[in-house]
Amino acid sequence: MAGLEDLYREIILDHYRNPRNRGELECPPARRAEGFNPLCGDEIVIYLDVGDDGRVRDLKIGGQGCSISQSSASMMSQAVKGRTVEEVRTLNSAFKALMTIHESCLDGDGNEVGAEVGGDGSGTDTPVPDPNVSLGDLTALQGVVKFPVRIKCATLAWNTLTQAL
């Protein structure tokens, strides 16, 4: 069994205790998106303000949830501010790749059909990590992969961000 220290890294607990960018933005100009985890009821609200230059001018986060979903949202908010929409998408893919369990040897017969389980459990998307993207603090979340149930907590903010984009 993976230990709690893999999951609850200090930086994660820090973001949970002191969430960055909490609040609301006026809509419009900001866009608002809501996401929730059907299995546990966690809710995230994202307010996204993209400037005319195509960069994320501001981003605020509302809602409630567990330490993983809250800290993931907080870290995300820091990571995307000031980035172009294109950069945000790349970051999103990189994060999803981090959150993906590769089970290509599920029963050892080398047949890859259906052998990868999408990180968010949807069983459909199989993102490929891009070695050129740096995730910074967000890599602290990679221990979550050892606790598959919590992956949806970690990806909730990102999926909601995708809706807002």
Partner: protein, 417 residues
């Protein structure tokens, strides 16, 4: 009550555990399983009954002339007889095997509902229902244009009977849980049923959490339909039960179509089989029914009175222990009187998110559920996004409660600052 009252008035948990292979494992830390409200573990008798069936006499039922198929049919139907007796049903014709309680409730909604309800008709539910007793009615309401009304839940987590008469005015059907899977609340089913009958409504009881834990008699409850599920009562997955009054089932159109449920099929139509098979389309969950029959046998051996007494005592111990150790830092939702509730404790603790509680407890081997427990409307009513939930069954004892209480300290250490 038609239950067989046991000579024991409580359970010897150490002995009971020996019946459950899951406790034979060498786990470190040892297993502290407190999630039976989601699904119970299975005693050896249940696993053996299914294995013996598969290893000696499996064959498709009801259609074979040869001895092995006859034996399979006999074991399958004997399980139905046992289940019928366990809930005080007078006839096996009234006991339909489904795949789970959810299918049982959908069967009533779609078959009875479509045949008897139309635009504007009123169906009464409660705010404390499991999604299994909400979504089928929400879907039906959309399909037929029904009006849904909800009995409220009081701040103490009891069913609010204040609005009962108003809600029942013109109601055609009332469907309610006999025990909340979140609060442990035991609503006064009989009183609601009597009022509902007086108002001319049919009464559906979701007994998924009731049948496993309290002696059940369908007549005493005042039910017209009763739904429950095998995997929460020591039985296997893949099987549920719908009991219904024979006149009602008889008059209902079939639910699913296929083999088993027909008398004759022509290219332009079909006629239905007798009860209960009319509602059992396709090859039934044969081994699962046999496993459920064995589960009923084990529950009868323990004695439902002893099961209930044990759970009341354990719930009482848990409420006391948690209050003593954590005071107001730990909020248990639902009734405070252990005799007025089942052994299901949903709680909030020091503002820590239930997911995190469950994760940290798991490290100590303590299995509790975290989330909305398939009762989102009730979560909204309680004003919480989720709860942590510990639930008890025949194999739990005080040491499990102590382990839970101890492990909660570790949650504080990690998250409270």
């Amino acid at each position: 009550m038609a239950t067989l009252t046991s000579v024991h008035d409580t359970l010897d948990v150490a002995r009971v555990r020996r019946d459950f292979p899951v406790y034979d494992q060498h786990r470190d830390p040892p297993l502290v399983f407190l999630d039976s409200a989601a699904s119970s573990h299975k005693p050896r008798a249940v696993l053996d009954a299914m294995a013996d069936y598969y290893e000696t006499t499996h064959a498709n039922v009801h259609r074979g002339v040869y001895a092995m198929a006859e034996e399979a049919t006999a074991r399958f139907e004997a399980a139905r007889t046992r289940v019928a007796r366990f809930i005080g049903a007078t006839s096996t014709a009234e006991v339909v095997f489904s795949k789970n309680a959810t299918e049982s409730l959908n069967l009533v909604a779609q078959s009875w509902g479509r045949a008897n309800l139309g635009p504007g008709d009123v169906v009464v539910l409660t705010e404390m229902e499991h999604h299994a007793n909400l979504v089928p009615w929400l879907a039906l309401a959309e399909q037929l244009g029904l009006q849904l009304r909800y009995l409220r839940v009081t701040d103490e987590g009891l069913l609010d009977l204040e609005g009962l008469d108003a809600a029942l005015d013109g109601a055609r059907l009332v469907s309610l849980t006999a025990m909340s899977n979140v609060l442990g609340t035991l609503p006064p089913v009989r009183a609601v049923a009597d009022a509902a009958h007086a108002a001319g409504a049919v009464v559906v009881v979701d007994a998924s959490q009731y049948v496993p834990h309290l002696g059940t008699d369908v007549d005493a409850l005042g039910a017209d339909f009763l739904a429950f599920t095998g995997h929460k009562m020591l039985g296997p997955t893949g099987i549920g039960v719908l009991w219904g009054r024979e006149e009602l089932l008889d008059a209902m159109p079939p639910f699913l179509g296929g083999g088993e449920m027909i008398r004759d099929v022509r290219l332009d139509g079909f006629t239905c089989n007798d009860l209960p098979w009319k509602f059992e389309a396709g090859t039934p969950p044969i081994a699962e029914a046999i496993g459920l029959g064995a589960a009923v046998g084990e529950l009868e051996r323990y004695g439902m009175a002893a099961v209930r007494a044990h759970e009341v005592a354990l719930t009482s111990y848990a409420l006391d222990t948690l209050r003593r150790r954590y005071g107001d830092d730990l909020v248990v939702h639902g009734p405070t009187d252990p005799c007025a509730r089942g052994g299901v404790l949903s709680f909030g603790f020091r503002g820590i998110h239930p997911h995190d509680i469950s994760q940290v407890l798991d490290q100590a081997g303590v299995c509790v559920r975290a989330g909305h427990h398939c009762a989102k409307p009730l979560m909204r009513r309680l004003g919480v996004p989720a709860t942590a939930r510990a639930s008890f069954y025949v194999y739990n004892d005080e040491s499990d409660v102590d382990a839970l209480a101890d492990a909660l300290d570790a949650c504080s250490d990690l998250f409270c600052f």
